[in-house]
Amino acid sequence: MFRTVLIANRGEIALRVARTCRELGLRVAAVYSTEDRDSAVVRFADQAVCVGPGPARHSYLYLPAIMEAARQTGADAVHPGYGFLSEQADFAEACEAAGLTFVGPPAGVIDQLGDKSTARAAMAEAGLPLLPGTIEPVADAEAVAKVAADIGYPVIVKAVAGGGGRGMQVVNDPDDLPRQYREIRSTAQSLFGDDRVYVERYLPAARHVEVQVLCDRHGNGLHLGQRDCSVQRRRQKIIEESPAPGLPPELVEQMGSAAVRGLLAAGYVGAGTVEFLVDEQQRFYFMEVNCRIQVEHPVTEMTHGIDIVREQLRIAAGERIAATQEELSARGWAIECRINAEDPARDFMPTPGMLTELTFPGGPFVRVDTAAFAGGRISAAYDPLLAKIAVWAPDRPQAIARMRRALSELSVEGPGVSTNRDFLTTALDHPLFVAGTHDTSLVDRLTDSQPREER
């Protein structure tokens, strides 16, 4: 096992990783920007290094600074968390070159799976079902029009380098195609520095179901069940649960084994997530792979009783996965809500500011992952995630009731600071969510941004 782990991240995930490191007896090295000087992880860490000013591109995303921090702290492993450099093959490569263990898959695997086009090819090769569309990037608007005519509208044009719900465009009408195609290419270029796009059929009423996989360096792989992340606003998840409600056991089994098969075939090492779309006929299609810990990992930890960060560190240290698929069992139901500092009444505008009062829920089977504290600040420089509240219960109705209760205990005060707490409660109360028959259109129904007929 390692001696010192550098956590190349900030906020709640940095603190969450640091906690497991501490439990394993590992020294914690944190990095911080000038904006995060007083952050929780800086106080928690054994050593903290300032790596740059507030803007992430000059600090958390600045590879030379992070590598220097690793050198200065004597780290022998680097945990990238999620976001920032976590899915940059260059980062994994730089760690390898510096003799550091990158807690994640090899650089080559990140390269292959981070590019949507090569990821789709690899997963198709491993026998995973893909949505109708192109595997190779499309050359021009005429090519997109031809594919769209073949597979039928609506289609979704996606950036090859996209991720995190950014860099995609739904096209409903052939007349709009040339303009939207141009727009998405230019967006992709500015967001990811890569304007290549591909096309696939768009499923307006699909469910987003993902499978958590662990693979070790010895060729072993297993999955930790599913998470349903269908409650999304502008493709950003806000409520996640495990298991996914209402899926037939044979479908669950098929998706789980397909995910493990796909990642093992790609040479994956560590914790990874395979995202699928499930249509109304309960057919599933591969969407993308996330080569990192996910924001919503707590729901899987609660149903399986496994600390996924601990497994990431053990696997990175060369240890074998301790359990077999047959030995694993999930219990009960877990739901997570993402508490964002934003104002739903003002089109979910982020509300940075000072937190004068902060009361988090407690009680049985309630988990709060946060780095926020009263007297602290929500910075305008980073995403507005304030906390993740996760609950566990023996079944889904009890889990929903527990989450309602937990949200009601949450109190966040600060000049100009609002949260999406009430919006989350409204979503939990929606009859489709209560019935477990909701899909990715649920938030649109709540915000009336795209009125749809009840099915």
């Binding site: 000038t34 000087r37 290094v49 300032c50 790596v51 740059g52 000013p53 600090s59 600045y62 590879l63 030379p64 600074a65 590598m67 220097e68 921090a69 200065q72 730089a94």
Partner: protein
């Protein structure tokens, strides 16, 4: 030096206690920024008056040439702007272009804005450190070859009078 009153502990005097607490915090912060403690300090809140008294001995020391001494790194916002030249990146600080070479600058040197005063090496990148204003180097704070964090003071500089 003038002793500061502890805030009273009764409810009736809560506003007074808060005010005194505020005065105490301001005084502590003010004293923390001074190299040497004054003999007396008076603070008045109405129309804001701050008075400090120094002993003759302290005056004599202050008039003598400054003996440079390494300062504790302070957050950028706590020091006067332009009074310190800080590390532009986390890395290893070098005072000279190569081992054995003369340092870019020494204490007492006059420097001009944009003049190179050191190097910070990060991942084999040599990032020049430049003076942000004209002035005189009064102290070299970071040692040659020392690991430095972003924003860490490397030199203290006395800006030239505009």
């Amino acid at each position: 030096m003038t002793s500061l009153l502890e805030p009273a502990q009764s409810d009736r005097s809560a506003p007074l206690a808060e005010a005194l607490d505020e005065v105490r915090r301001s005084a502590q912060s003010l004293l923390a920024d001074l190299g040497d403690r004054p003999r007396a300090l008076r603070i008045r809140a109405g129309d804001v008056v701050v008075e400090m008294e120094w002993t003759e001995q302290q005056r004599a020391v202050a008039a003598a040439p400054a003996e440079p001494r390494p300062a504790e790194p302070k957050p950028a916002e706590e020091t006067a702007k332009g009074s310190e030249i800080r590390a532009p990146i986390v890395g290893t600080f070098y005072r000279a272009a190569e081992p054995g070479a003369a340092p870019f600058v020494s204490e007492g040197d006059q420097v001009q804005r944009g003049q190179q005063v050191g190097i910070v090496e990060a991942m084999k990148l040599m990032i020049p450190v430049e003076a942000e204003a004209d002035g005189r180097i009064v102290a070299a704070i970071a040692a040659d070859g020392a690991p430095v964090e972003f924003g860490e003071p490397l030199f203290r500089i006395e800006p030239s009078a505009a």
